[in-house]
Symmetry: D2
């Protein structure tokens, strides 16, 4: 299904510096960037960096002149998702896990799974179907953590959120990842554009590795799972920051949007339903 995604960000430059932006739609077998346009005004030379494992597409550029710069990104993206039936899914032994996903079992800056081992096992260890396990922990986050902005910040981690029980999409995702890893389920952070997110913004959720596929989960339940355009995946938000700024440059304003392409009409929202076993994956 095709979506038009759009970002515009403004920065004030006071001294020369470097920006690394992470706002481009990823190119994957299941996500085609039909066309895109990226401009920085005033003009600068841009370097595109595609990470070794293809988890993100970074745009790096230097800014020299004091003043305001405006960054605009516009793309038409066709994404395609698959549904997989997990009703008969067995637990995957670590011995059988694809070796490329092993790093996603490790604790990371915002997902201290090593500290959540007992809690995660106490709450979810008895569930044998791994899809049901992750659905249940996602529901548990949804039911126990209050979605409120202003109560968490860029240093808030899953270890905080599990007790403080308040946060935004980033915090919900970190907690989901930490609980999964504590259960020996590889999990990673997903950042993207989201259709039907109000107010419009970038969105974060997470993917768990189940039966050989990265399946999408969103503890916020704010948007349909099939309306997401992937920007990046990573261990957590430390790997997938929208912008990394080096130098005396300040972020001042942002607009984001994600709309159905004009020739698309039949968007049928997909949410996981209670008792269901269909997992959604992009790529």
């Amino acid at each position: 299904m095709k979506f038009n995604v759009f970002t515009q960000m403004e920065y004030v430059v006071r001294a020369p510096g470097t920006l690394i932006l992470n706002i481009h739609a990823l190119r994957t077998p299941n996500q085609t960037v039909l066309n895109e346009e990226f401009t920085v005004d005033p003009y600068v030379k841009i370097e595109e960096i595609i990470s070794a494992q293809g988890e993100n597409r970074l745009m790096r550029f230097e800014v020299y002149q004091p003043g305001t710069i405006k960054v605009t990104y516009n793309a038409l993206v066709d994404n395609f998702y698959e549904l997989t039936d997990y009703s008969q899914q067995q637990e995957t032994l670590v011995a059988q896990l694809d070796s490329s996903v092993l790093p996603y079992l490790n604790p990371s800056r915002y997902c201290q799974s090593d500290k959540l081992y007992r809690l995660s096992h106490n709450l979810f260890g008895h569930i044998t179907n791994p899809f049901e396990k992750v659905v249940t922990l996602t529901d548990w986050i949804h039911n126990n953590v209050q979605y409120l902005s202003g109560y968490s910040n860029s240093q808030t981690s899953a270890f905080d959120t599990v007790t403080e029980q308040v946060g935004v999409c980033r915090d919900f995702a970190h907690l989901g990842i930490a609980l999964c890893r504590a259960l020996t389920i590889p999990a990673r952070y997903f950042t993207g554009y989201a259709y039907h997110l109000y107010p419009a913004d970038f969105h974060a959720c997470f993917e768990a590795y189940l039966g050989g596929k990265w399946i999408l989960f969103d503890a916020t339940k704010l948007v349909p799972l099939n309306g997401l355009i992937k920007i990046a995946t990573g261990r957590d938000a430390a790997d997938t920051a929208i912008a990394n700024i080096f130098g005396d440059v300040t972020f001042t304003a942002m607009q984001v949007s994600c709309e159905l392409a004009p020739d698309e009409h039949n968007f049928e929202p997909v949410y996981y339903i209670h008792g269901g076993y269909n997992g959604l994956s992009y790529l």
Copy 2:
């Protein structure tokens, strides 16, 4: 220079499980494994996993039978180091950093560089030569953190150590990494065998990316920098654990050694000296 390295570890298995060991000498352009032997007794089938970026060589195997297992690793390794003169080194702009090292600027589980930004800049921001910067912060750790075991544990992070000022090699390395990243210097964890380490054990230190090379630093100053055999590098200890154990399997005993090969005689220990500018790198 050639070293014989050796590890023997014992585990008690109570129920079937999986072990992932990270004790093999890495194969790199500057480190040749001349011969090696790895046995698990009783015999099990071993899978060797070489990570995509070549940061480690993991051995994964399943254990089924309750009882004791003994793991033995033995290798003759020839390592080769380079010294680089950094006396004229300029700061590398982020815009010019090799894109593959960008992830080593991100905060990680044990290296919360995002929280040490002001402290690192207050203490070391005025030093312009980047080699001198890292030498100085390494000395600062050495002078302010007491090397004592029993005061830190597997959850201790750089954010703890910078204030509690006590720990072991792992904690010294994490703090070094966090301070570097806070200064926009890519840094990674290094684990290996160490010649002249008493009591014999695995050792941890860190590498900082300076002028296009990964340069070795060791805030413990316990061993000569040129007597290390690299096992793995990673973002921090979460990526480079000696053993990851899944299942009811318990570690019970370990021996480690690292000796000069019999035909080597002229080991000249290299330490950084005050006011020097020669950085040591493997690979």
Copy 3:
């Protein structure tokens, strides 16, 4: 009921210092110290400090001579407890709380109730009877936190324990206190001698202020509630340390015991039973 309590502790003195011990049975309207003996060998002059609110009896003394000192405390103590029926208890408004207990609503070093507000309300906020509320949270701790030594230390706080779900009596008490305060129920730390505690040791639990009385709760459920001899109460373990040591003095050995007096025969253990409403208080 009368109990013989006993402690013997040994310290090695390397340089002059001061010790403040908190091991004496408290004298309260409901706890009579029939006789007691306290000796420090070699002899030193002891100062007894009774805190302004009567929460503890500290013994302060200086040690000068390098060598070993042995501290012995022996007492015959008659304690008396009351049972109060809370089946009809209403919540006490803060406006009606005795002003002397207000400080026990504040967060403290090991009981960060300010961070557990949402969690405590989500789990226990719906229970209207305040006794039932505290019994339920005590049971929740008992069922979710594993009693194991070696997993927590002197810096572990309720904020850690609520997620890590492992600890000793001290950690169980801190978590109980934090959850109570988060529910606007004053709560304090209780340290004492405990009959039927195996292995023998000092014990910690907590008191919640309900309907004008300090009622005893013990989430470890290791000992009968009516076999405790109170040493001290305080905001948390920071206020009630068994020993505060200033100087180069090291603790080396300890014995503790708490036995029924020879002329007592009919000890009927009291535990809170499921669905019961009788709260036990000393003093």
Copy 4:
């Protein structure tokens, strides 16, 4: 010297609740409240609570009616300070400390002195004069911590601030207290009205117990030490909150002022000067 102090605070009440305000000037031997007026509009019945040790004067009242309430406090206060020469001051042994100040050696919610022991000794342990020790640590905070609002919050503690090196007066005070206690110097939080504070607000600093007196220190250096009207002292901000709110009541607006009384003319600001040994104490 006489000061007019004034506060006006507005709250929106949505459901019945209780407020405990801590905004009254304390009455002490050195601080005389010549006249004062406290009104809550609409009228409610107020209970004044004076804490057992005289550390604060709390006003407790219930609010019933949904709507806005306005609290106004107005007082003319005469404070008197003493200067004590500490140039010959020896360290006070714990054995000689007044027993009433021992609790101010304990770690508390925001002042985890137990974690700052090594750091504090490394930085300040070599200084023998205790006044100079506290002046030096106050200067160290002033020079290393940036005064900026928006970077800390109500959960920020000394353990955070010592590394993050940014905060407001509350954070500066907590760090000062924690460093003192780690050096076995009793220290407590001081909250008050401050002359010459711009923008006008409540202020926080700390007192250290030196040679039998509570001496005032302010690491922010924002105001003269002799222009403070004491509201309360306590272990840290947990004990001395301006307002504790129970129920669905929200703080909406505040004004604070502290002016010299019209008949006072010769205010000579007192700050500690480099190399000086005069400590200022109220009471």
